[in-house]
Point group: D2
């Protein structure tokens, strides 16, 4: 059972903006990259083709402590902070060497796509839920 | 003195993802588009060339209520929720027709770029602060 | 019958990079925005929900003459340069005031999605082809 | 002296669009990622802080042979196809396993930023030009 993932990453040029630093919208993509890598490390894909369930984002946030710059290396540390029957909440910390860069959170819900394209919340299928557990000391 | 802005927008194809809906990272860009339009409506640019101050993002969040799809029209309603000597906090509501799509928040701080490229928090220059005021009933 | 579209646009902050100018990948998105607006002006959506045909990109190019900067206003002028039974080729010119910014080209093909998700080239449906015509003097 | 780079990559979710495949604008970013990795493998950064020269894109193109999908693994093979005193031209091939995905080209020019922010073409500094050479059989 998986409860965390550490993704090593380097800033790409197209992620920077005219202020010379990574545009803040990218931190949410970095966090999602780590989420999908965590799922792969559990033997799963969060968006398997032909499956009618999905995991849309319910809420998310980031606090930014220091900027990231072009070609800077950093680590995205994602942990499962909470699980309910229908949702997963992640906690995320970005660091670069010893520097704390940013702190994020993300909650996703399991939904089933209806024939009319609307999304209805359902319980996370047991074969998925069984692969994950809450990380110890996630609020430490 | 300006306290709000309403930006009308349509979903572009490159903003959608393989789930058929707008990728959640785009909501932060929509909110920032409205912020910069609010500054322009106050006669200002948030990133004027040749100026050594900037307004990096300190924290931000979004709650997602309903998905947006390709070519859907929506409105980003941005209000100034609070101002301190060094920061501005915005509240944001996305709607599409009568539907509530998402609710966001964004706090930015005024900084001065040092010769070594580090950023130091400073007070918002009075000629900028004088153009803005907190929106009434922003928590209504 | 439609043969051209002019899209007025302003540079958004997240479209700039650390060199202080619009990242070149955005010019392809600007061109596509104009394409989809051209289709809407013909009463069509290029990606209608529930339809099993699509228009993937076959080839594209851009020549860059001058940079674009944050908040700069520009116009994307898209013209239909050629049509075959299965493809449409567009020519694109970006200008800002009197300045020539960039020149692009884009060819798209009509495809049908097979049950196994592969794409097979088909003829453009007549109700779509009838809405478009080649622009006069497109090579002028 | 460096003449090529092979970048291994996986499709991220935010790179896909509502057609279920990678949006075509991303191929240009993939090609640029490989370019910057090629420069790093030569001991260089294409955008070193404090330096007043840059390498803006002059022209670029892609032919798309097959789509890429979420989590698909692929390789970006970038080669130096030509060098002049002021420009570098790259040739690029994307493959996924045995499949040819796309073929691209990119020409960049060396420029010096003037005090008024305009860009003037200059010769590539010898300490940079000396690290690169044209790849053999690049048109094979």
């Amino acid at each position: 059972m998986i409860h965390e993932y550490r993704l090593a990453r380097r800033v790409q040029f197209y992620e920077t903006d005219a202020a010379g630093i990574v545009h803040f919208s990218w931190f949410f993509r970095y966090m999602e990259e780590a989420e999908h890598a965590l799922w792969r490390s559990a033997g799963l894909s969060i968006h398997a083709s032909g499956r009618d369930i999905g995991f849309p984002r319910v809420s998310t946030s980031f606090d930014f402590h220091r900027p990231l710059r072009f070609e800077q290396e950093f680590v995205v540390w994602l942990r499962i902070a909470a699980m309910t029957k229908k949702t997963i909440r992640y906690a995320c910390t970005l660091t670069s060497g010893d520097l704390r860069i940013a702190t994020g959170a993300l909650t996703v819900a399991c939904v089933k796509r209806q024939p009319d394209e609307t999304l209805v919340a359902i319980e996370i299928p047991p074969e998925i839920a069984a692969r994950f557990q809450v990380a110890p000391d996630v609020n430490a």
